[in-house]
Amino acid sequence: MAAFLSVSSLSVRRGGRLLFEGLSFDAAPGDLIEIRGANGAGKTSLLRVIAGFLRPARGALQFKDRADPQAALHFLGHQNGLKGAVSAHAHVDYWARLLRGDASDALDRVGLRTQAELPARVLSQGQARRLALARLLAAPRPLWLLDEPAAGLDADGRELLTGLIDAHRRNGGVVLAALHESLGSAPSQTLDLSAA
């Protein structure tokens, strides 16, 4: 199958230090690519480069038929992107408008139906992470960039996350995830940045 995303000889530098160089890989629809590496190996930076937030020192990214790759991807970073005063429901609603999607069942699917009207500031860390996961569902986008997506999630939450990733892959989506521990979904490729 044609690659959705091709990365060729990518080098990323942060604060004058070379994190990794010469990284090349292809991601095809249905792929889950696990990004491994010690703390500071550049997992987050790699995801941020692919998201277009950071410029690589060298190398190229190629998205298949995409004039605006940023409109084709979701980024779930360390920060959940929540406003304390805004309710869970209003968050999902806003994301659906901002990122162009449909919010109707996103909260149900992440198990936050009963918390829909609560302001984000009273959600627990795990619930806040679930709300951030709801963003992935509020707007359909082919590429998911997940940075430690399981951070703060309980066993149920991790299972939920695995289920979401599996469903996304079945629909032809691509997932790139920086992980410390494997999720239930079997990766199609593992990139170890420490080794590179």
């Binding site: 998201a51 937030f53 005063a85 609603d93 408008r97 162009r100």
Partner: protein, 217 residues
């Protein structure tokens, strides 16, 4: 378009609901124009001459003091990243945030200038013009302020940096605004204020968006 309207509404609601967000600059402005006559004493001619410029300085500083948080929260909580991933251009979303700030912070401040002008001995018939001039002037302040707020978003206690960056751009609206408030060359001064506001609304979002893209790195 949907994304832009949604951003405008969300920001307006957040500013309004966030307590101090909208009310602090208003309180600051009212405090300044109420205390000024008390400090200057009962001399009517002095007050008539010094009052209008003072009100403009108070409005400029009230806006300046509230700019710091404009993008800082978005940068810290990850909302900025989501704005970058929208199909709507970041410039348009920044414009929406600026417009929400103008509506929630600027409009009440301009309306408060009506009663404030009376305490500063401005003639009653001049008050609608003063309010209109402040509506334009505050748009100019906020347009310039967007850039300063964006550049300083990643800096803790960035207020000083914002002041240094933005104050030179506050000078023209203050000059023309004080001229309107004093009743000198009202027509041309209003036209020039409108020019400042347009300049700020057009250039501000582009420069601020460029600065925010660098902040997201």
């Amino acid at each position: 378009m949907n994304a832009i309207i949604a951003t405008f509404r969300r920001d307006a609601a957040l500013l309004w609901a966030g307590g101090g967000g909208a009310l602090a600059p208003l309180g600051y402005f009212i405090g300044a124009v109420v205390l000024a006559p008390l400090a200057m004493g009962p001399d009517r001619t002095l007050l008539t001459a010094a009052g209008p410029p003072l009100a403009w300085v108070a409005a400029a500083l009230a806006v300046l003091a509230s700019l710091e948080k404009l993008f800082q929260a978005d940068l810290e909580d990850g909302s900025l990243e989501q704005m970058l991933l929208s199909e709507a251009p970041l410039e348009a979303l920044v414009f929406a945030k600026g417009a929400a700030f103008w509506l929630v912070v600027g409009v009440p401040l301009a309306l408060a200038a009506g009663p404030a002008a009376i305490t500063l001995q401005a003639p009653l018939e001049r008050i609608p013009v003063i309010v209109a001039s402040l509506l334009l002037g505050l748009a100019a302040f906020i347009g310039a302020g967007l850039v300063g707020a964006a550049v300083a978003a990643g800096v803790k206690r960035g207020g000083v940096l914002i002041a240094l960056l933005v104050l030179p751009f506050f000078a023209p609206p203050v000059i023309f605004g004080a001229s309107v408030a004093s009743g000198q060359d009202v027509g041309p001064a209003l036209a020039l204020l409108g020019g400042c506001a347009l300049f700020g609304c057009v250039i501000g979002p582009f420069a601020a968006a460029a600065a925010l893209r660098l902040q997201a790195e």
